[in-house]
């Protein structure tokens, strides 16, 4: 019968065990792996450099956004610090016509999809409820309701299957999200219909203040097989391993093999959001231990060992990052405030009488301020 696998809650509490796919050690050495190496064999020197550049740029963007928040330019920001490899490694494995469904923290994924830098912060500056047109970048707008997007990905993948398309839906979510009914229902549907979807869980060890051990007593990767979905557990701070695993999953999906679940084991090095205070619940020693496993440091060591980390390369990368940060800052600060009456736009695709009456009433109300210094009456208008 089905007794528990050997590692239980206690192990989940110390997730540093290496029961996962690793291609790059913490000290930056390539670890041979017959099964997964072939999936990143094409990543030569230029590929590694490009990945490094990605990691540095997205960290810089993240830092800049955090600074913008501290300076009052953003209302809030959810940093991804520490999770860069999990996001870059997976997102760089995708095809343009794949489609991504994420939560709020996947800004590095959005960067890879080609989302404009300013568009990344529109929501957090309060200018809009989302930053981009999904069709133009192959990425849905983030879901804030935890787990909701996993069902959307499953539905999109069902559509792709009907269309006979060669496209895969990839959905990102956190360790905390695995407790929500929606994520589990998504696995039920994805397995039942055998649709091309990849469930990509960034296990960053925390759901705000709650450690992953509260959500799950066994490794999160073990959840999926019980739904009939094969899973992979990967070192989420190892950009190569993440890319290899994602490619395996994408390949399976494209060739009709159905869904795959990936648990990328990583760590949220920052607060949950800029409004959070992790000192209330997190042991600083934990953070120190994970700093050793920094995804950027690790790739840098590899590049260094291979003689690729030249001063020119470092400078070019830094310049790229600075330019991106400057673009983000300028774009953010330059965002025009939305028009007052746009509050009524796009509730419906066609006119709706009740709402149109409210809009007319409010327009008249606003106009009354323009026409006089004091507030004036607005008969019949419903404000």
């Amino acid at each position: 019968m089905h007794d528990l696998p050997p590692h239980g809650a206690a192990d989940n509490g110390s997730p540093l065990d290496d029961d996962f796919i690793q291609l790059l050690s913490e000290s930056g050495e390539r670890m041979p792996n017959a099964e997964f190496d072939p999936w990143v064999r094409d990543i030569g020197a230029a590929g590694l450099a490009a990945l490094y550049d990605d990691l540095v740029v997205v960290r810089r963007l993240d830092t800049e956004a955090t600074a913008l928040q501290r300076q009052g330019e953003l209302g809030l920001w959810p940093p991804m610090l520490g999770q860069e490899a999990a996001q870059i490694g997976s997102a760089r494995a995708l095809h343009p016509d794949d489609f991504v469904f994420t939560s709020y923290r996947e800004n590095a994924v959005a960067y890879c999809r080609g989302v404009g830098l300013t568009d990344l912060v529109k929501v957090w500056r309060g200018n809009a409820q989302s930053g981009w047109d999904p069709a133009s970048v192959g990425m849905a707008v983030p879901a804030i309701i935890i787990g909701a997007q996993t069902l959307h990905a499953t539905g999109w993948a069902l559509g792709a299957q009907f269309d006979g398309a060669d496209s895969v839906a990839v959905t990102y979510f956190g360790d905390g999200a695995t407790s929500e009914g929606d994520v589990n229902e998504a696995m039920v549907f994805a397995a039942s219909f055998q649709v091309p979807v990849v469930f990509f869980c960034q296990n960053n060890q925390w759901a705000i203040s709650e450690p992953v051990g509260l959500q799950a007593r066994v490794h999160i990767a073990e959840r999926a097989p019980g739904f009939g979905i094969p899973s992979l557990r990967v070192d989420g701070n190892d950009v190569l391993a993440v890319m290899a695993a994602t490619r395996v999953a994408l390949d399976r999906a494209r060739s009709g093999g159905g869904p795959t679940f990936i648990e990328a084991v990583t760590y949220r090095m920052g607060p949950h959001t800029t409004a959070d205070d992790p000192t209330r619940y997190r042991d600083p020693a934990d953070l120190a231990r994970w700093a050793e496993r920094d995804p950027i440091l690790r790739l840098r060591r590899l590049l260094d060992a291979e003689g690729l980390f030249t001063p020119e390369f470092e400078a070019a990368t830094a310049a790229h990052a600075d330019a991106a940060a400057a673009e983000l800052r300028a774009g953010c600060i330059g965002l025009a405030d939305p028009e007052p009456l746009s509050v009524f736009d796009n509730v419906y695709t066609t006119p709706q009488a009740t709402l149109d009456r409210q809009r007319a009433g409010y327009a008249a109300y606003l106009a009354s301020f323009e026409s006089s210094d004091t507030r004036s009456s607005n008969e019949g208008a419903s404000v």
Partner: protein
């Protein structure tokens, strides 16, 4: 790279298009006026919508081989195949959430919720995703999803099988809400709902599924329009769904007593066609609203409030509501003590007339 289907939407509601399937052996839509039950009229509406637009797919529990517990989807699996008529696992949040994903990819999903009381596990996806995604994306994404819900009581059923949850949805901005009342408007409004680029909650009066009527394969007047089903001059009586027929009976009974009632079938609960309702109330000066749902927070309260705001000077008496009580749906043997019926409606009419 075409990710979202940006092709023009299905035929606009105003142009009736009783298409035949090119393949003569395939499914055939209604071509002539036919006598159908309300359930069969919905079935015909689904078939026509599927013929009109290959992006229309049906999702739900038991809608395939069984044809749904009310047989509303009978034959469609056989006619259109399992990629158009999708029996899903038993999970309402996933039914709606999957439909969202299909809409993201350009599909036009029609979800069946088996009974009114089973919509709540899918409530979050409806309220936070289906209703809001068009707004959230500043118009970039459309959610042309129709959610069919058999609703209302009077069938002697167990709990959760007789509810009237429509007011939860009329309070949810971004949704359109329709309740049909006879085979013709069931057919016509379903086609309009499916063709709409907005998400539509489409409520079916389950206790009238077996009532027959003539169905013309047309789209009729726009779904936002209320319809005067029985003209009158002294009292405006507003309702929707299963009670439309009871309200008509009430108007007949009142006529015998010399009272002239104008019965309005709302059809659209969100938005309400206030133009039609206002015109009637300005004429009659008296308003009665009746529905099965609980009174507090129900659709009737909103209509009474709006009409009072809009027609205060025309009202000759306080508007009256004749509704279900503020109780959970009672056991079958008590449901007649909860549901408005002819007598309770007439008592309401008496009240608004000060009698």
């Amino acid at each position: 790279m075409t990710i979202l289907d940006r092709s023009p939407m299905s035929p606009t509601p105003m142009s009736p298009t009783p298409l035949r399937h090119p393949n003569a052996a395939g499914p055939v839509g209604l071509t002539d006026t036919t006598t159908l039950t309300l359930a069969k009229a919905i079935n015909a509406g689904l078939r026509q919508a599927m013929l009109d637009d290959p992006k229309v797919v049906l999702l739900g529990e038991d809608i395939g081989a069984l044809g749904g517990v009310f047989r509303v989807t009978s034959d469609l699996l056989r006619e259109f195949g399992p990629h158009r008529v999708i029996d899903t696992p038993l999970a309402e949040s996933a039914i709606i959430g999957t439909a969202v994903g299909l809409a993201y990819r350009g599909y036009r999903p029609v979800c069946e919720i088996q009974f009114d009381g089973f919509i709540f596990p899918g409530f979050d996806q409806i309220v936070s995703q289906v209703a809001k995604l068009h707004y959230r994306t500043q118009g970039a994404v459309r959610m042309p999803i129709t959610i069919r819900v058999p609703f209302g009581g009077g069938i002697g059923a167990a709990e959760h099988h007789s509810e009237s949850p429509e007011a939860y949805f009329t309070h949810t901005s971004g949704l359109r809400v329709i309740a049909v009342s006879d085979p013709q408007n069931a057919y016509s409004l379903l086609r309009q709902a499916i063709a709409s680029d907005d998400p539509v909650l489409y409520f079916e009066p389950k206790r009238r599924y077996h009532v027959k009527g003539e169905v013309e394969p047309t789209l009729g007047s726009p779904m936002e329009r209320a319809v005067i089903v029985s003209p009158g001059s002294q009292v405006t009586l507003i309702t929707y769904g299963a009670l439309v027929s009871t309200a008509r009976d009430a108007a007949l009974a009142a006529a015998d007593e010399g009272v002239s009632i104008e019965v309005i079938d709302l059809r659209s609960l969100s938005p309400v066609d206030y133009a039609t309702v206002e015109a009637s109330v300005r004429k009659t000066g008296r308003l009665v609203v009746t529905h099965e749902a609980a009174q507090s927070g129900g659709v009737g309260g909103e209509i009474v409030a709006s009409i009072t705001e809009r027609c205060f000077d025309y009202l000759e008496a306080a508007p009256v509501r004749v509704t279900g009580f503020d109780i959970p749906y009672p056991p079958a043997k008590l449901e007649r003590h909860h549901l408005p019926d002819l007598d309770r409606i007439l008592a309401g009419v008496d009240r608004v007339l000060g009698r």
